[in-house]
Amino acid sequence: MTDVDIRPSEARPSAGRAFRAILWRDVFVTGKEFWVFLAQVALQPLFMLFVFAKVLNAGGYVTDDYAHLLLPGIVALTAFLTALQTVSFPLIMEFSFTREIEDRLLAPLPTYLVAIEKLTLAIVRALASAVVMFPIGALVLGSAPWHADGLTLLVVSLILGSWVGAGIGLALGTMVPPSKISVIFAVILTPLMFTGATQYPWKSLDSMRWFQVVTAFNPLTYLSEVVRAAVVPDVPHIAPWICLLVLTLSGALFTAIGIRGFMRRALS
């Protein structure tokens, strides 16, 4: 037949290779749509930053300090939402209309690893978006807070926080039918965004006890708090070890729920 058929194949299938190839597929597709990706992740937080820190400041409604408090919160929000959306929206489509994921489900690796790959990609993209947000934020604000000693804490907390966002995305992506995508936005994303202590430090809610309790149930709160602890340690915050613990536990919880949902969708 053809020469490729005669030559013995050099294929060496393994779960590790399949995992890397699937991850590479997603990175490759992200790269092809890089500008779309950038707009997706950066636009909304950018406007939030601009209006709350710049416009309101110009009108005298907020102080200069507020801008430095808001930027870390916005970075936390961006990473969290990027991770969540990177997993949930494509998954909803790939499992239903397009069935695109099937070729990857048939790759020679355990099915749960395909879900783990989604989480890995989400963390990579979330970290990329966080890295992009700092300089853009600095440009918008004219300056950015910086605290070199907090760098390790910042990186660790962003990884953990992205993982939690990705886990929630995996759970949603495998539970929500495509007809309900807009419902996710309305009833899940919006409350998550505004009860996550991104626009205000949690300790500042002492006088609004009920809301403080509500926000304590949002994992994003702990990400915002620990990112502020790393970048602007002077602002009163929840102890970082508590934040990291809560993030780890909720990451594990949502990953477990998400992988169960994923297996249910992948195997009928």
């Binding site: 053809t2 490729v4 050099e10 299938p13 190839a21 695109e100 099937e102 070729d103 048939l106 020679p108």
Partner: protein, 320 residues
Amino acid sequence: MSAAVEVRDLVKRYPKRDVNAVDGLSFTVEPGEIFGLLGPNGAGKSTTIGVLTTRVRATSGDATVAGIDVVRDPVAARRLFAVVPQQSNLDRSLTPRQNLAFHAAYHGYPRAERNARAATLLDEFGLAEQADVKVDWYSGGMAQRLMIARAMMHEPRVLFLDEPTTGLDPQSRIFMWERVRDLRSRGVTVVLTTHDMDEAAEMSDRVGIVDHGKLLALDTPAGLTRGVAGQGVLDLSVTPAAGDDTDKLIAALTDVAGVSRGEPVGNNGSIRLYVTAEPETLIGPAVTVLTSRSATVTDVHMGSTTLEDVFIDLTGRALR
């Protein structure tokens, strides 16, 4: 060499369903064979393929592909089979060429080899000219060809094709049939499903007829048409004499040597005889019986049984 596919007492009941989609199915596919699963919609064909390709969890029973238990070792099995599903599942974020290359990457092919294989297969499936466009631009036939090319990228030993020609135009259908025979000549075992009788007869070395998740018959197309309904049919339009009726005529006709059974068709006196001899040798004896009873024969029509007769005979006429 062991069987290419072996299914034993396979049962699948989907959650919240009160009947089994696959209900105690058993069959064996030999290496190098083209095996057809023929059945009406909802018969359980796709579910069976789903179990064999590790996408559907079996409720009970065993299934092996290329000697590997698909339930116990799905990952190893996935290296040895490929599947082209009923609906397109191409990766629309990638070009056709990238669809092939990434598929090979998932299966551990190094870059140079996957690019070479992709180029060869695109050429073979007549897609080389449109290898770098958007997958969305592909027609149904092209998407189908691309999916088969993709399936061949990792050199499977067993290829599953779920309704490969449903919805294709005649040209694409013929092209598909040629390609499938091609694959067999390379030693690939092919399991295909279809609800098209002609296709099953044309393509398959052996055909299993399934309905309601059960295997009703399994043989070569020729064996099926011979075994179930005799070798041919003889249709007679007859007006019985006064005092006689169609049922009595059928009883008399069934006594003729070579007639295996008869049945009335419609209610205008037409009779269909299933015969085990060549139909034309029985026209004389049949007409002799009828004229001896003073019945008037107005039309005689003979034909060989087709897989369609067998299919209808086994699965009934009810609409699905």
